[in-house]
């Protein structure tokens, strides 16, 4: 089996101080946003810490300029040599191509996939399933059910996240990135129920994200949630213990992850 993966998520948006620049941010429940630094230098730190992959998402609610995003990705890919997934505002095949040509390996689609599921099959046939990651943001409703949200978590749909994940696989997605809006930035752990349900319902890899605050949360996500990979923004960016220490904790709990020597 492939090793379980730990994936720092780098969220980007337009800097409030310099509108021509994209900065790295962390978020809480998709709402509060904190600027924390520069994507390129942070990527280098993650590479030195032997992170398994990186995910870049433009989370700016207004500015979805693919060219500006692709400029950041180009700079990153000239300096780091590890797999890069990119998303945020990918709506057309041209957006897809632009990001791939600038160094992305996999492309994350979210709102566009819900609006037109055929977009998944179109890109999957053209670039290969391994290239198409469908990002699913979900939230718990007052009646206890879960619903998929699009448009940076601003717009509710009628889709159930488990059903939608299965549908994405059927349409040709190569991977699912699951994000709990409720748990985002709260550091209280992943949503294990939804993670496990989705992992059991599809045969493509599932990346679960939002909520990790300690090594234990990763262990739970892998062992209980059966995730193939876990992504986190806040945990990796605001880490007070060393990355290698976290990895050892996870490995010692019996999770097969990469220990780089």
């Amino acid at each position: 089996m492939a090793k379980k993966r730990l994936i720092p998520k780098l969220q980007l948006r337009t800097s409030s101080y310099n509108p021509s620049k994209m900065v790295l941010v962390i978020t809480k429940q998709f709402d509060q946003v904190y600027e924390i630094g520069d994507a390129v230098s942070q990527s280098k730190i993650y590479q030195d810490q032997a992170a398994d992959e990186l995910i870049f998402i433009n989370i700016d609610k207004r500015d979805k300029d693919i060219y500006r995003l692709s400029n950041v990705i180009r700079k990153v890919s000239e300096e780091i040599f590890m797999p890069i997934t990119v998303g945020g505002g990918v709506n057309t095949e041209e957006d897809f191509r632009t990001l791939l040509l600038n160094g992305a390996d996999k492309i994350c689609i979210n709102t566009a996939a819900v609006r037109d599921p055929a977009f998944i099959s179109l890109t999957s046939i053209k670039y290969g399933a391994q290239c198409v990651v469908v990002s699913i943001d979900y939230k718990k409703e007052s009646d206890g059910t879960y619903k998929v949200y699009v448009n940076c978590g601003q717009e509710k749909t009628n889709l159930d996240p488990v059903y939608w994940a299965m549908e994405c696989e059927r349409m040709g997605a190569g991977e699912i990135l699951l994000t709990s809006i409720d748990n985002d930035g709260m550091r209280q752990g992943l949503n294990l129920d939804v993670t496990e349900l989705v992992s059991k319902s599809v045969s493509i890899p599932v990346i679960s994200s939002a909520g990790c605050g300690s090594a234990k949360h990763f262990i739970d996500g892998f062992l209980t949630g059966k995730a193939d990979a876990i992504s986190s923004g806040t945990f990796f960016a605001l880490q007070d213990q060393s990355f290698m220490q976290t990895r050892s904790h996870i490995k010692n709990a019996g999770v097969d992850i990469r220990i780089h020597t």
């Binding site: 090793k3 890919s77 040599f81 590890m82 290969g128 190569g174 045969s203 493509i204 890899p205 990469r258």
Partner: protein, 205 residues
């Protein structure tokens, strides 16, 4: 000078940047005749088998590659799909003929295990023949990054120089004379991957 074959698909930037980072002279070859002046050739790969081989044939690269690689003996590296197109036959998207440099068929990773994730996306321990120069300086069972749903099923076992375990032995690298190819992405496998590219730069088959 290393020439990267650009047949009009996918991400060449990472491969280019990796060789550039290692200090090699490297250029992207958009036209088959660009390959005449390079010493080494790289076929990178992303996408699907049929599209890839169709493009290699229709752009005229096939003819020049056969000449430069099989007759002139220039060292060549195939990466991922760039390795798969070197096989005789590919079964992704119907049955298609490849370059035919390896007596092999490209088949789907075994779908008979329901728990097996396909595509295989991630890091796998690769065991390799330690006598192969291209793996010099790489620890045995080092992790390399794979992203694929199909793999090379090789008829002549002596062509296979590295494998990994995915409920079955999966071909991770093949070598025949001046032709070397990896299923994994050395340009995405951090320092161990860069080591292989560094070895390729000075490899004398």
């Amino acid at each position: 000078m290393i020439g990267i074959v650009d047949y009009g698909m996918g991400n060449l930037l990472s491969v280019y940047s990796a060789f550039d980072y290692l200090g090699a002279e490297v250029k992207v070859c958009k036209h088959p005749e660009d390959l005449l002046t390079v010493d080494r050739i790289v076929i990178p790969g992303v996408g699907a088998f049929k599209d890839c081989i169709d493009k290699i044939v229709s752009t005229g690269f096939k003819e020049v590659l056969d000449e430069q690689v099989l007759q002139k003996g220039k060292p060549i590296l195939g990466i991922c799909l760039g390795m798969q197109v070197m096989a005789k036959i590919g079964l992704e998207g119907g049955e298609n003929k490849g370059l035919g440099w390896f007596d092999a068929t490209i088949v789907k990773l075994s779908p008979k295990y329901p728990t097996l994730r396909i595509p295989n996306i991630g890091w796998n321990d690769v065991s390799f023949d330690p006598n192969i120069f291209l793996f010099k300086g790489v620890p045995q069972n080092a992790d390399f990054y794979h992203v694929h749903s199909y793999f090379m099923d090789v008829n002549d076992p002596s062509d296979v120089v590295a494998t990994y375990e995915y409920r079955q032995r999966v071909t991770a690298a093949v070598l025949k004379d001046n032709i070397f190819a990896t299923q994994f992405h050395p340009e995405k496998s951090q320092d161990h991957g860069l080591k292989i590219l560094e070895n390729f730069i000075v490899w004398k088959p």
